[in-house]
């Protein structure tokens, strides 16, 4: 009996030419309309290809569409599809596949987490097998960047009505790799598709995504050469590892940030002076340079740097010019006026997740707020429960959150501060009609430069409201073995397996 059990457990020992990538959580689906976590995205980038794709450096490149044109009003996109684009069953990927998939995405019954980003689509027309026209309600400069997201991937006709995406026998995709094996808590094995024709020929025959949710385990397996990559390590672990891993340790500033959302429905936090006092007392330099050991950078604005053409003019907090001492002085004064001192402190609850870096930062902020008369009660939940809790917008006063841009446009961050943009979650009840008007105007603004001006005005309003407090820019910290070539660091953290090669 034991022999049988062991035999069943030996699926396939990794061969030398396999690429073995760790993911820090289980994928729960391979349905492009259901996924929303980083591990799911990573696997789907290998299994599918959108009209538009991302190259090794994370930049937008043609995908299934080898060319596209936009009308001068920015409203009508016409895509020319490659006739050579094939599904893994050998049939051709046609314009109708994209049309039917986008319609599935927009059907409310699909309950696609990313559907709202695509609400700007007015109609989709497949004129013939290789011509697809998408008409938008508003000129949307970042639209091609949306089309590179998994939500815009085509879904094969046999799967559109089905939930059998995790079954390798039934799976059909159009990416460089095809699903070959999947087991919960274990691994997803992908095999190179022989009929795939794209910008490169994938070097690895097999890509194995190993579920390793404990970062310490991931690093040990990396050090014993069982894994070629480890995703998103905490700063604490990086310090423990020291310099031993050399260039295998990759640190790149992401289009991502940690921030606090203050619940303005709360009678105390509805007072702008109290919110300003809290904002003033946070020393972002200390957070980034000491607490997070200089691996993350302090945020002096709401939108992280790294978006081309943004901001058109500098955006900064209205207390940026004050010294640390002056800030603390003003903060204490504001709190005293509101009736709070270290002897008669204000008690605030702060909800955050168990992510090591997030927990570290929150601990430090609680310490920074002590001298201004704030006593923090920290409510810690596991990652999923924390964000589910924030989604209710109730039952917390201050919430810690992290955000990674889904598309390369400042709107992906400016939208966080407002209820107007349905594309991004706003965890507070804070709403400002001025911000909403600015975002509405930006949405219909045909001139890209003017649009950036409107977005930066909205960003300034968010900073001045003190309802959302940005803290630090998150760095993407990963391990990439020196056995692997072709890995290019990029702020979106997108690294398709087809661009990676074995180093001899």
């Amino acid at each position: 009996m034991l022999a049988v059990i062991f035999a069943m457990s030996f699926a396939s020992p990794a061969a030398a030419q396999d690429l073995v990538r760790a993911i820090n959580g289980n994928p729960y689906s391979f349905d492009p309309h259901k996924v929303y976590t980083a591990p799911e995205f990573e696997i789907l980038y290998d299994l599918y290809e959108g009209l538009v794709s991302r190259n090794g450096a994370g930049e937008l490149v043609p995908g299934v569409a080898n060319d596209w044109s936009v009308t001068s009003d920015g409203l009508r996109y016409t895509f020319q599809l490659r006739p050579s684009a094939k599904w893994s069953d050998g049939s051709q990927v046609v314009a109708e596949d994209f049309k039917a998939s986008l319609e599935r995405l927009m059907t409310p019954g699909t309950a696609a987490p990313y559907a709202s980003l695509f609400e700007i689509i007015e109609s989709v027309v497949a004129a013939d097998d290789t011509t697809l026209t998408i008409k938008l309600a508003n000129p949307t400069a970042y639209f091609p960047s949306l089309l590179a997201l998994p939500a815009a991937f085509p879904i094969h006709g046999s799967l559109r009505e089905s939930e059998a995406f995790t079954s390798p026998a039934k799976f059909v995709g159009n990416g460089a790799y095809q699903l070959d094996y999947w087991r919960f808590n274990d691994r997803a094995e992908l095999v190179r598709v022989s009929t795939y024709i794209g910008d490169v020929k994938p070097a690895f025959k097999r890509v194995i995504y190993v579920v390793s949710e404990d970062e310490n385990t991931c690093v040990r397996r990396f050090q014993s050469d069982e894994l070629d990559t480890c995703p998103q390590l905490s700063t604490g672990l990086v310090r423990e590892l020291g310099p031993g891993l050399g260039a295998q340790l990759r640190i790149v500033p992401g289009l991502a940030s940690y921030y606090l959302s203050l619940n303005t429905n709360d009678p105390v936090l509805n007072n702008r002076d109290v919110r300003r006092a809290l904002d003033l007392a946070i020393d972002r330099q200390t957070l980034a340079n000491d607490t997070l050991q200089g691996l993350f950078s302090p945020m002096e604005s709401w939108v992280p740097t790294g978006f081309a053409g943004y901001p058109p003019a500098p955006v900064a907090r209205n207390f940026a010019k004050l010294t640390k001492f002056q800030r603390l002085q003003e903060s204490i004064q504001l709190m005293t006026n509101a009736g709070y001192t270290p002897d008669t402190p204000l008690t605030l609850s702060l909800a955050h997740s168990t992510l090591p870096d997030e927990a570290l930062v929150m601990q430090e902020i609680a310490r920074m707020w002590e001298p201004i008369g704030v006593r923090m009660e920290r409510e810690v939940r596991d990652f999923a429960s924390h964000y589910a809790h924030l989604g209710t917008k109730q039952g917390y006063q201050i919430a810690a959150a992290g955000w990674i841009a889904d598309f390369v446009d400042p709107l992906s961050f400016v939208g966080l501060g407002s209820n107007a943009a349905s594309s991004t979650p706003n965890y507070t009840n804070f709403s400002d009609p001025v911000i909403e008007t600015l975002l509405d105007n930006a949405e219909s603004e045909p001139d890209p430069q003017q649009r950036m001006v409107l977005l930066s005005e909205a960003e300034q309003r968010i900073l001045d409201s003190h309802a959302h407090l940005s803290l630090v820019t998150i760095s993407l910290i990963s391990l990439v073995s020196d056995r692997i070539g072709g890995w290019q660091d990029n702020p979106l953290g997108v690294n398709l397996s087809k661009y990676l090669t074995p180093n001899e």
Partner: protein, 315 residues
């Protein structure tokens, strides 16, 4: 002999009836407790607004009154159908369970066998050789009290990262994959078996009948084997019943540290994801194991030592 067997079966019948009731209680309790936990399986959809989550709740029948859902669960349970996972769309709970249990068992069984064999041998050896306690006890105490979250990473660091002899995780490298997780599970089992047997053997060895046999000239090793061991095994059996059940049910820490797709890790993740059907099915399975193995231990105890009077066994 015939009479003894009849007596055994008669004594076990009420126990068996209670076991069935206990299993029903465990599944019922886990059904209601899992649903009482805050949050739900579709809370991630809240970012789309409450309607998105509520659609899924309706589609999965989670909006029905709890008693209606419970009725559905009981009827499924009766037919051996635990339904589908709520978060892994289209995946039957039975598949998730059986796949993970096979993995957990393939680590637990060798760990138990090795643990019992080595633990017993060490105890018998210690009694025969009349070991002094000091050093031996320190070693046992260490093996018994060092938690898996300490031993597992240390063993992994030493044998996988430094020496490179064994894999640091996963189950796909064949037999070597199972060595370290097995070792982590074996240590406390071997230590506990050894400790219990040592105590029981020492006590038996100083009992009047054994002292009398010794006076007749029987050697220590023969005394241990033929006189002391059979009854000294009883406390070990009582310890092993729940231990075997828990080991088979999966070891959360060991499975996480070694990236093993076993049932312990499945249980934790299903609980965090509020995947109710998986949580209830796993809890029921563990309940079944513990109760079943306790029943077995009772039967063995009675068989080994018919004088035993176990509460509920004797009329």
């Amino acid at each position: 002999m015939h009479l003894a067997r009849r007596r055994l079966i008669l004594a076990l019948i009420p126990r068996a009836i209670w076991s069935v009731i206990a299993i029903w209680l465990v599944s019922t309790l886990s059904f209601f407790v899992s649903r009482a936990a805050p949050g739900g399986p579709f809370d991630n959809l809240l970012r789309l607004g409450a309607h998105a989550r509520d659609n899924q709740i309706v589609a999965s029948g989670l909006d029905d009154p709890l008693l209606v859902q419970y009725g559905r669960f009981l009827s499924g349970f009766w037919h051996g159908d635990f339904g589908e996972s709520l978060v892994l769309k289209g995946v039957p709970v039975v598949n998730l369970l059986s796949e993970s249990i096979v993995v957990s068992i393939s680590i637990a069984i060798p760990a138990l066998v090795i643990g019992i064999v080595f633990g017993s041998l060490a105890a018998v050896f210690a009694v025969i050789q009349n070991f002094s306690d000091g050093f031996f006890r320190i070693f046992l105490a260490l093996a018994l009290t060092l938690p898996a979250f300490l031993t597992a990473p240390l063993l992994s660091l030493f044998f996988a990262v430094w020496l490179g002899w064994l894999p640091a995780g996963g189950v796909h490298a064949g037999l070597p994959s199972f060595v370290l997780p097995c070792l982590v599970l074996t240590l406390p089992i071997a230590a506990m078996v050894c400790l219990l047997l040592l105590e029981a053997l020492r006590e038996r060895m100083s009992s009047p009948d054994i002292l009398a046999s010794r006076a007749k000239g029987l050697g220590t090793s023969q005394l241990v084997r033929s006189h002391a061991l059979p009854s000294a095994v009883i406390p070990v059996l009582n310890f092993l019943a729940p231990t075997v059940a828990l080991a088979l049910a999966g070891a959360v820490v060991t499975e996480t540290v070694f990236d093993i797709p076993g049932s312990g890790r499945l249980f934790i993740q299903s609980a965090l994801a509020r995947d109710y059907p998986v949580v209830v099915a796993l809890a029921t399975f563990v309940g079944l194991l513990i109760i079943g193995l306790n029943l077995l231990a009772d039967a063995l105890t009675l068989w080994l030592d018919p004088r035993t009077n176990i509460r509920g066994l004797e009329p």
